[in-house]
């Protein structure tokens, strides 16, 4: 570089986050795919664009929609600003999810990184909450009904679901109170919490001496600047450029102003919650919106604390067999889940056949058994026939959960149209 002082300033800044010297393998793009760093970058972009949007936005039922319209049509670069914020937010959900997938499959969540896995899960929750609270703010037909549907999904939780939904909305239905509440969470509480937990997250990465690499690949360390810093700046530039171009050509959606008395035909939750909504169409709400999510969250929390016989830190998919098992589990789950959705939609009418029995049994226990008995059989097969050890079984289970959710999410968001019927 021609400006040594500038060079030094940049490197010094990055050295707040990185050590001076670093393992050469840790810099390889395929180690992290830059996902954590991209998430951090997106957070910064969202913070800045969000600050600017606050100058134009009016957080009230009367003013919100019109202020968005004015922003788009009358302010210079207003539409661009909104698009940029919107697409960065959507990308952050995707990137955080991929980052979670990456740290899990590259065995980067064990030993001293356990705690960071937990902070990561918390960050994932905050990312989704931020996106969801922001979703309501335009106050159009899309956001109004999406939030109505999502908060009503909460009210299916047994015992305290209704009070929880009312607590989230600040009212019995989505109204101005909800808007004010979401606005404050979105632009105040949640960003603050994220800055706090991201700091801990980064600090714990450093405390664990950087990202995980297999012990066999340790080598002589190289200087962080320029080797890593160069790649990070390059990746950041590419992401910003692509996002800017995308925001230039693709507009964030905005429908008519919210009409609380008129629901549009087929209303959907935001796309990342569509997996739940799809699940709700097949299984009793006590399972779909409470027991199964609770079970999955608990399972994710204990993953790094299971007593394994062996852990291969930093080795993708743990072993060759692990790779194979991941692949088979993904294929199996995709086919099986799609098949079951089709069968349930077209053929099964369990409620009708056993109409004498309680709903919790016909719509809850039976469909859950229909899904989990074959899944159990599959895991048994993986264990017996492929001689999987405990780690490989956990990898298989996580793959099943993730793939099942993604499949349901895609079916719900892409394959369902009017009246939530399947379309082909």
């Amino acid at each position: 570089m021609k400006h040594p002082s500038m060079d030094r300033a940049i490197s010094k800044f990055f050295l707040h986050l990185h050590p001076k010297k670093i393992e050469p393998k840790a810099i390889l793009f395929t180690r992290t795919f830059g996902l954590g760093g991209i998430a951090a970058l997106l957070f910064v972009i969202l913070f800045i664009t969000g600050m600017l949007l606050r100058f134009a936005y009016v957080p009230s039922g009367v003013g919100a929609y019109d202020s968005i319209v004015r922003l788009q049509d009358e302010l210079i670069f207003g539409r661009m600003l909104r698009n940029f914020h919107y697409w960065s937010a959507m990308l952050l959900v995707v990137v955080s999810f991929l980052h979670l997938v990456r740290v899990f499959y590259s065995q980067a969540i064990y030993f001293q990184r356990r705690k960071n896995w937990l902070y990561g899960l918390l960050l994932m929750f905050l990312v989704v909450s931020s996106n969801f609270t922001g979703y309501l703010l335009p106050w159009d037909q899309l956001s109004f009904w999406a939030v109505t549907i999502m908060t009503n999904m909460l009210s299916y939780i047994p015992f305290f679901g209704n009070s929880l939904a009312n607590l989230v909305r600040g009212s019995k239905v989505v109204d101005e109170q909800t808007l004010l509440r979401f606005y404050n969470f979105h632009t105040g509480v949640l960003p603050l919490l994220m800055v706090f937990f991201m700091s801990i997250h980064f600090w714990l990465v450093r405390k664990a001496r950087g990202v995980t690499i297999p012990s066999s690949e340790k080598a002589e360390k190289v200087d962080t600047s320029p080797h890593l810093v160069y790649k990070e700046v390059l990746a950041a530039l590419i992401v910003v450029l692509v996002l800017l171009l995308f925001s230039f050509f693709v507009n964030a959606p905005l429908l008519d102003k919210a009409k609380p008395l008129v629901s549009p035909n087929h209303s959907k939750a935001p796309w990342y919650f569509m997996g739940f909504q799809e699940l709700l169409m097949h299984i009793h709400p006590a399972f779909a919106s409470f027991l199964l999510p609770l079970f999955v969250i608990l399972f994710f929390i204990i993953i790094p604390y299971v007593p394994y016989h062996q852990i291969n830190e930093g080795v993708w998919f743990y072993s060759e067999k692990g790779k194979k098992i991941t692949f088979i589990s993904a294929i199996f789950t995709t086919v099986f889940t799609l098949l079951l959705i089709l069968i349930d939609d077209l053929l099964l009418d369990i409620g009708g056949w056993f109409s004498g029995l309680p709903v919790i049994f016909t719509e809850g226990v039976l469909p859950v058994l229909c899904y989990f008995v074959p899944i159990g059989g599959f895991i048994f097969y993986v264990r017996k026939k492929l001689k999987a050890d405990r780690m490989e079984l956990v990898i298989s289970s996580v793959t099943i959960i993730l793939v099942a959710y993604v499949v349901m999410m895609l079916v719900g968001s892409l394959l369902r149209g009017e009246g939530m019927q399947l379309i082909f």
């Binding site: 908060t151 009503n152 509440r181 169409m281």
Partner: protein, 171 residues
Amino acid sequence: MFKLKWASLPVTGNFKTMKKINRRKFFRGLIYSLVSLEFGYVFFRLLKLNKPASAEAIYYDAGEVSFFEKGRVYPFGSARFFLYRMEDGGFIALSSRCTHLGCIVQFNASNDRFECPCHASAFEKNGRVITSPATRALDYYPIAFKDDKVLVDTGNPVRRSKFDQSQVMYV
């Protein structure tokens, strides 16, 4: 005795790293916990519904009893209910909020039933579920009659799992 019991517990880890709780630490911990609890509680109260749970009855005047023909459904859009006068002259006021996920149902006169635009639940005129995903009958509102008028208590929707005759009101 008491002391002995504690002393005989197996000790894991080494003594230097074990945290001893002395008075100062105890009070510090106590104060921190109390302050956090206080903040937590204040925040929680701030978020809670500030309206009392059982709102006072707000009666909506739907009109003269004689105006309503038997067997017909009358929509009251902005008040979010439908008034159905049954064949036998009884009244039931149904909330227009779908029990599936909260969309607003519409009365479809050609199918003679309520239909939800969101995920296609359908309900009979008395609120009973015809097609899922909804599993509960539509909520209903208490009705009172005064001076030959039908008054609907729109502040207090009643949850129910199915329709039964006791929910119908007669003049």
